[in-house]
């Protein structure tokens, strides 16, 4: 902080005396910005003419402010624009997942001899959304985003979290209704494990391709045989919950190790 200017200097500054050189005026002004005491002394030293001027300016400013546009109120829907955009892009995919799960719930209800189709399809529910969240087709600005410092695993995880927040309640709702209600752990854990596997595989071949590959593999290896034999696969029996949890943690840890690859375009 600069040293306090003398009372004489402040008086001469207030009077706007031309004898005061520029450098002194600057140092007084810089000091006044940070020192309330000196501002008070300056206020005491002002002349009647400058006080009338200040009153006039204040009145004029008040008039201008009253005439100008009112500040916009911060409404509930004025969330940050990026979130609005993202939810708008994801909604069709979530609606599609909900429709598929709803059909599965109806089928499960009308075909009681088959294993729960909701349970069979639960691991795949978030994958279309995850693929859409990190894809060149759904994100027109992918090339711009891929060149920013924010691009990376953190951003992908944030988008994935939004997908899960939208999909899991739908899944839980369809799992809870109906006669043969599914074990929530056996719906949630495979769901999370498949999401982590998509991200891990996506670090090698791209997230969208990984999601499609995993969906096809699960449908061919588990869903089709269990529908054909009308038996619930071993993978979805209550005893499998532990291995699913372990698998989820392991896949998530491996994904963290591959975090660097999400900074480049190859994962898009």
């Amino acid at each position: 902080m600069t040293t306090h200017p003398t009372l004489g200097e402040i008086d001469r500054y207030a009077a706007g005396e031309p004898g005061l050189d520029e450098a002194t005026v600057w140092s007084i002004e810089v000091h006044l910005e940070g020192c309330a005491d000196c501002r008070a002394r300056l206020a005491g030293g002002t002349t009647a003419a400058s006080r009338t001027l200040i009153t006039e300016v204040a009145a004029a400013l008040d008039r201008e402010i009253a005439a100008g546009p009112t500040p916009r109120a911060r409404a509930f829907f004025r969330t940050p624009v990026r979130q609005r955009w993202f939810v708008a892009v994801l909604l069709p995919w979530v609606v599609m997942a909900a429709a598929v799960l709803g059909t599965a719930a109806l089928l499960t209800h009308s075909l009681p001899h088959l294993p729960s189709i909701v349970l069979l399809l639960a691991p795949l529910a978030p994958l279309p959304g995850v693929a859409a969240a990190w894809s060149r087709r759904t994100d027109p600005a992918w090339e711009l985003i891929a060149g920013t410092p924010s691009a990376g695993l953190t951003m992908l995880l944030r988008r994935t979290a939004v997908v899960l927040v939208l999909v899991i309640p739908v899944l839980a709702a369809f799992g809870a209704v109906g006669a043969n209600r599914a074990n929530p752990a056996l719906m949630l854990l495979p769901c999370l494990a498949f999401t982590a596997a998509t991200l891990l595989l996506g670090s090698f071949v791209g997230v969208a391709r990984a999601a499609i590959g995993l969906m096809v593999a699960w449908a061919a290896a588990v869903v089709a045989p269990s529908l054909a034999t009308a038996e619930l696969p071993v993978l979805l029996t209550p005893a499998a919950a532990g291995p699913w949890a372990l698998g989820t943690v392991a896949l998530a840890a491996l994904t963290l190790l591959r975090a660097g690859t999400f900074r480049r375009l190859t994962s898009f």
């Binding site: 624009v81 090339e143 060149g147 920013t148 410092p149 480049r264």
Partner: protein
Amino acid sequence: MRTVSTAETAATIHPWAIHAQALRVRAGRHLAVDGLDLSLGTGVHGLLGPNGAGKTTLIRALATVAKPAGGKLTLLGTPVDGRADLRPARRALGYLPQHFGFYPRFTVREFVAYMAWLKEMPKADVPAATQRAIDRVGLAAKADARLKTLSGGMLRRAGIAQAIVNDPQLLLLDEPTVGLDPEQRLDLRELLRDLGTDACVLVSTHLVEDVVAACTDVVLVNEGRLLWQGAPEALGAQGDAGHPGDSPAERGYSALLRRHRAEATR
């Protein structure tokens, strides 16, 4: 009196803003940049070359979007090949891709502010920096219009605004003059000269006259390699009346390319 920017007074510890040694970058399976050596400092550099010369792939690699397949690449003193941390270089980078993808429902201001946020600018600086970038490209009247309502030239300028919003030390513009009318092109040249006083600006273009008018340095690439580098005046001296072209620089451009092709076939 000229304003002295912080970039000018800060001690630089890197000799070149862009330093590439034997750089190789793939576009799909094709090696579009193959053994390119390039050193660029502060100033406006015009990147010239025929179609398929590897200009866009080179700019993508310099924007840290595409990963180099080989060689060394250092941006602003930070290595950006292999497993290096890209974030310090990316914070000081501005990039306008050839195909500028945007969110149609965003307004210009929202889009530029979103890009500023992605570039990890301090939250308090974003609104002022956004307004300044929009003013500099002359879109202030359209700042609150949605991007889908803008014309091609305005979109291009919105793209330039998002590139310069973080006051980049390294600015990469891939064909910024596409869709601009003659007057806007003059404004863009002025802006480029202004930006080039304290940053490294690399402009890819097909228009030789833009390069001559706005650039301090010309970089000519062909088939993924550096063909020639020098001042715009020196480019004019490369050709004579016998070469095709309507200006000395155009004649010099075609002379260099023909000489290179003649050497390649021999």
